[in-house]
Amino acid sequence: MPAESGEKGPGPARRFIIAWTRGVSVFFVPVLAVFTALLIGAVVIWTSGHDVLAAYRGLIEGSLGSPRAIAETLVLLTPYTLAGLAVALGFRCGLFNIGAEGQFYIGALFSVIVGFGLHGLPAYVHLPLAMLAGAFGGALWGAIPGLLKAKIGAHEVINTIMMNYIGVRIVEYLVKNQLLDPTSSLDRTRYILPTAELPRLIPGFRLHAGFILALIAVFVVFWLLWKTTTGFEIRSVGANPTAAKAAGMSITKNFVLAMTFSGLLAGLAGTGEVLGLNHNLPAAFVSGYGFDSIAIALIAKSHPFGVMPAAFLWGALRNGAGLMQVRAGISVDLINIIQALVIMFVAADEIIRWLYRLKPKEEITEVVFTRGWGH
């Protein structure tokens, strides 16, 4: 039997089953991780003397219980998706882009400048220009550590962290000085012109066209990674740089490209927040999306199609936290604990496999999250 099976291979039906079980197990672990984290969260709530059912009912109602709750969850999902895609794309090239936060800020900065700075343009010119500017800003902020890595081998983890500080402080400085709106008592820029605003999707709700952009980005990133030669190179360099080099690919070029694309996506996340929600950029602009996006990329196993569900989960947890707090009188910090547990269980998926007696993985994992120093 072995010799024959080696030559013929499985039929389409069996091939489908193999792919399906593999897909299910990839999908199952994160779902079980979430379930387990919620279970432990329940124990925490219960031991602290609160009502578990009320808390979780609040969490669900707050995130999904009404059209408005759902819309708000999707509002949060939007930047999570774009920034999550950014980090996932970096992982695919073997790069750990911790700099999504800084790229997010610079993207927001560039788009707000174009948003309030250019006058007399029709919306169909102004809005794309503002978005392009944001994308460019993020791409620039990603490309710098990419270039540093390619040219002098400086590790991207260190440099993206540094670029975060630089980016966040530049934004704060400019907003408090050159870009300050003199007519406002708050430290913020002027409002962008209506021609640069991302339109709201449903009247009366804050959900904006950035959501559509995020949805498109999921498919574009998938297409880029799996359907283009550029993506083939990025993934090859990520999975085995020495073999990629021997096959004629340029490792350095792909590092720069991947960091640029990654920064571009994170920049778009910031752009969406400014053009779709805030319509200005406050100095006290607090995001955190850039950091949460690392968790989202991890849960998604760096697959674009996993990013949006993971972003949805993150958005729902964040959005439902408020009502949970009101209903059961527990701290929002519990949500942080649950999120941390989810990350932990996904990252250490052996725990979940052991808990639920899932088959150990025999396949080689496809993604190298990051490499050691100075290879």
């Binding site: 291979g9 359907k227 030669t229 080099k245």
Partner: protein, 509 residues
């Protein structure tokens, strides 16, 4: 003699492969029992079951007549089974003693390491079995052959009575292998039972008491060295008659394809390792580079393929200067490269086979139009090459990491030969492969040569260089000591050249 171990009806299936199918295996006390088979025959799977790394789907294991259940390596160790893996499990920055004690430390007050006590036991074991080591030496400072001894002592330290040696000679020089055999004999004389996994026929005759041959997960037969011949064992392993020598016609030599002139190359530490090498390879001939591992072959090949920039000198391929060209520029000149380390430079293990087959051509028609990849064309090409090169796999979507070593090498050969190449740079093309795969790859190399391709063959296997080459250049300490016609070369003469002796004094015909 009493049975130390008896495995009955062991079966184990992996997705798409029946790795072990109703295997019966007996090991007598004090016996060296060779487990022979091609890569992928199920030898390592069977031993991993015995060592508790895999769980069998069916079957029983008896030790000294008692049925045992081995679920983890600790169970195996508790039952007196020790395994020396192909890739050593040692901590390079620890000493020999520390490595051996790791996990079973002798302690003082239950906390502080008692190195003296451990060191004494290690010295006792070394003396008893003739396993010389320096207990204070750091693993990173000792040669591979000695590291292997440390692994054996590690097993003995854990009171192993049954030792599993998984392809122990694949990392050793011939001299080191001979020393290992000596140790094995001494161990068996003292009552230890040894399972010796190998695919090298010569070794079986050198050391084994009994031989069990596996093929496609089944036992083909058990025999003893005095009743068997090499040809017979090869046939049992492969399932058909095997030609152990390579037949080839006289070369039809064409124009110069590769021209290397006074090439100097440095290694990663900046030390000169290739020192002024010059040679030519013409179309239709195989130039073999013979030499002991570590005499600059790796860096020479890297320089020729664009993976390393030479310090000085000149490389020309078909007249064009490629001294500092990129790997892609060189590949596009019509150069095929079978790299020395197939996992490092040859493939992306997590990629499907089909993707690996276009790893260097993915951007060209018909696999891509502009930047858009044509998945159908890539899969089509994959199916075609899998059939043509007999790569054993359930499908072109399976990842390259699921293939056996021989099939991975076939994948690389298939990829390189599917391009129109004028020069083939082939480094250690059959390292770690089984008889069937070696035969296949040798045939393919000869086919290429006969088709007019210039072939540079770099190999540390002297037999291979002698069997395939038309001319042989011997490399020693980064220099070509001598170039001889293969027809006029002798094993002894080449061996002396490889050890650094000059021709004038050594090759007396």
């Amino acid at each position: 003699m009493a049975l130390a171990l008896s495995m009955r009806g062991i079966s184990k299936a992996f997705p798409g492969v029946q790795a072990n199918d109703q295997i019966d295996f007996d090991l007598e006390r004090g016996e060296i029992h060779a487990l022979l088979g091609e890569n992928g025959a199920g030898k390592t799977t069977l031993m991993n079951i015995l060592y508790g790394l895999y769980r069998a789907d069916a079957g029983q294991i008896y030790l000294n007549g008692q049925e045992v259940h081995i679920a983890t390596p600790s169970d195996a160790i508790a039952h007196g089974i020790g395994m020396v893996h192909q890739h050593f499990m040692l901590v390079p920055v620890f000493t020999v003693t520390e490595n051996i004690m790791l996990g079973v430390e002798s302690t003082r007050y239950g906390f502080f390491l008692n190195r003296e006590q451990g060191g004494q036991r290690i010295r006792d074991i070394s003396e008893e079995y003739g396993l010389e080591v320096d207990p204070e030496a750091y693993i990173k400072d000792i040669p591979v052959g000695i590291q292997q001894r440390v692994e054996i002592i590690k097993a003995l330290y854990r009171q192993a009575d049954i030792l599993i040696l998984d392809e122990p000679t694949s990392v050793l020089t011939p001299q080191e292998a001979e020393e290992l055999f000596e140790i094995m004999r001494s161990l068996s004389a003292q009552g230890k039972s040894i399972i010796f996994i190998t695919h090298k026929l010569k070794e079986v005759f050198a050391v084994a008491d009994r031989i069990t041959v596996l093929r496609d997960g089944r036992v083909v037969g058990t025999t003893t060295p005095d009743k068997a011949t090499e040809a017979m064992l090869a046939e049992m392993m492969v399932g058909r008659e095997v030609i152990l020598t390579v037949e080839k016609e006289d070369p039809k030599v064409g124009e110069v394809v590769l021209e290397v002139e006074d090439l100097w190359v440095e290694d990663d530490r900046g030390l000169p390792v290739v020192n002024g090498v010059s040679f030519q390879v013409k179309g239709g001939e195989i130039l073999g580079i013979a030499g002991v591992q570590g005499n600059g072959q790796t860096e020479l090949v890297e320089a020729l393929t664009g993976l390393r920039s030479p310090a000085r000198g000149r490389v020309r391929i078909l007249g064009a200067d490629t001294t500092h060209a990129s790997p892609r520029e060189i590949l596009e000149k019509g150069v095929g490269h079978i790299p020395e380390d197939r996992h490092k430079h040859g493939m992306v293990l997590s990629y499907p086979i089909a993707d690996n087959l276009v790893l260097s051509t993915y951007y060209q028609a018909p696999f891509a139009h502009g930047i858009v990849i044509d998945g159908k064309a890539i899969d089509e090409n994959g199916r075609k090459l899998i059939a043509e090169f007999d790569i054993r796999t359930p499908s072109e979507y399976a990842s390259a990491g699921t293939l056996s070593g021989g099939n991975q090498q076939k994948l690389i050969v298939a990829r390189e030969f599917s391009r129109p190449i004028k020069l083939l740079i082939s480094a250690q093309p059959t390292r770690g492969l089984d008889v069937g795969s070696i035969e296949f790859i040798h045939q393919k190399l000869i086919e290429r040569r006969d088709a007019g391709t210039a072939v540079l063959l770099v190999s540390v296997e002297l037999d291979e260089v002698m069997a395939l080459s038309d001319r042989i250049a011997v490399i020693y300490e980064g220099q070509i000591v001598e170039t001889v016609l293969a027809a006029e070369a002798t094993r002894e003469g080449l061996g002396l050249l490889m050890a650094g002796a000059r021709k004038e004094s050594t090759i007396a015909r």
